[in-house]
Symmetry: C2
Subunit: 336 residues, 2 copies
Amino acid sequence: MGRGARGPSMHDVAALAHVSHQTVSRVLNGFEGIRPDTRQRVLDAIDELGYRRNLAARSLATGRTGVVGVIAPDNPTFGATSSLYAVEHALRDAGLQPLITATASRRSSIEAALEFLHGRSVEALVIMAPSRKVLEVHDSMGAEVPTAYLLTGEERGRWSVSVDQQGGADLVLEHLYAQGHRRIQHVRGPLDSIEAQLRADAYTRFMARHGLARLRMAEGDWSPQSGFEAYRRIDPTATAVFCANDQMAMGLIHAASDAGMKVPEDLSVVGFDDIPESAHMLPPLTTVKQDFRAVGMLAVALLEATLAGTEPPSTEPLEPELVLRSSVAPVGAAAR
Amino acid sequence: MGRGARGPSMHDVAALAHVSHQTVSRVLNGFEGIRPDTRQRVLDAIDELGYRRNLAARSLATGRTGVVGVIAPDNPTFGATSSLYAVEHALRDAGLQPLITATASRRSSIEAALEFLHGRSVEALVIMAPSRKVLEVHDSMGAEVPTAYLLTGEERGRWSVSVDQQGGADLVLEHLYAQGHRRIQHVRGPLDSIEAQLRADAYTRFMARHGLARLRMAEGDWSPQSGFEAYRRIDPTATAVFCANDQMAMGLIHAASDAGMKVPEDLSVVGFDDIPESAHMLPPLTTVKQDFRAVGMLAVALLEATLAGTEPPSTEPLEPELVLRSSVAPVGAAAR
DNA sequence: AAGGACGATGTTCACGGTAACATTCCTTGC
DNA sequence: GCAAGGAATGTTACCGTGAACATCGTCCTT
């Protein structure tokens, strides 16, 4: 093991520059009131020795770590990954250190991840909760640090940063309605997923609002494969399917095509997310675009302000955008 | 700022358990030769106070951090993301702390990421190099820590952990050849990508070995959109296209379909990676499956052994696997 | 010219652990 | 019954930094 090769310390720099270690510290921390020539001597010494300050010692002395824990879902979807990268980048820009852990939705896995993060003295958390269970575990562990929640709808009030799921669902559903569709089916995401629930609720409300019959939902797990399998459970009278994400829409279109159904002539299909592949499905998919990067950046801005004690930004849900492609046709198009 | 809320320290635990702080330390570090009742008193005290040890202090005293830096590509492809998650998980299992940074391929971005990691006193690095430039910058910064390289072929000898790209390319090319294809075109990945280069080289060698004419390569950037655009540059006499990844294959199939070409009857298409979507493209894509998770785990095992001074595992390239679906037909299938 | 104020820098201590060494306590053998 | 030795535990000295306070010199004021 013996890995003892410690680099130069502040004292080494101080000795070389003929100052005290405190002066070195002041230079590094940008204090004013250092004579220019002194500062230069110190900087030269730092450069010559290739000195880097020891963050362990620093954080021991200050009592701060600058570490922000990030809990990401274990199965990396396009959306979560995009937000994750935005969060990582924004945190580093803010001078904070992202500590990323992925967790499955098993309780033990979530606990291990949170335990790991708290053991690392995180000063804040970003929870990208795939499921409600993460929230439960987190609550039960007595969270003492500011926490931003992503992918949870508005569940956590002003700590939630999200895209308006209800609004997004309404966008596609209204589009289908305008094209004459009345028998619309929903393929929802996993039962324990908050976003899946929000989209499903939006579907339910939409159908009620327009006095339409709700068709029994099929459930998928976000994967293309589950969309493929969900096709078997589609109501034969349905003229359109609202899939809770683009991957499931892709699988569903595949299954429909295998069954001899043409999309969109025989069946219209819409998705949710606008993954890069959606523009190139056959047919290209009509869907709802969410700005995942913006969500990630907003979450970091929220935490940054909270840690600094300044006024936090508004966390109103972001508005998604309808992306029209070719997977929707007016109802009865095949007959023409 | 003033965030001073420090938790209980070892001394607090020691006082409560009526022992010295050193005994607490020994209990925590699993030393032998502690009387069971003493150990229990200490554990009870820890539990009662909710004590967590301060890692900053620990690493200051030991001179070790247990932090392993991970450099991930900025644009998260399926493969890179899968490996990344495997690496993250394996590192945590090994008691190490993954410190993940994403970097674009701009030199400045790479430098910033490496500077960040070294400033964090990483003890080892996992470099998932999207491009050769990362390697250059890394070399020029004088790396002093053990480093595992992913996604770089065998460029770095036994520090490289990879899937056999040449072998994978041969798998699909031989499949096309066996189906009678002789006019095979390649849509390669970005010029600065090492893996793209390896696949392109494999194509070149394959064609030479079989005495076939090389068709001029088109270049894409891994995205479906770039595959779509690459279709315009496909040789009209080509009967099959080997795309360097599945996403580009998807875009290309879309473009072919727009142009009235049927896949696979008029044109056979193969991809590389086997992303979850590939099974549900229209037609389902014949491709090469790489075990991204295994690659990530192997990289961590390599570093773990190196840090521990034990015998490192073999880093022979892993063998990929041909996945046969429906995007390839015998040449001339349309004529029948 | 003396005193004060302030700017620049130095000194000391604390942060919370671990390592090395010191001490105490018990057991064991004679 | 006592010495010896090992097991269990305590004491002390760091690790490298930042904060608080101390010091020194200089310039300004009166």
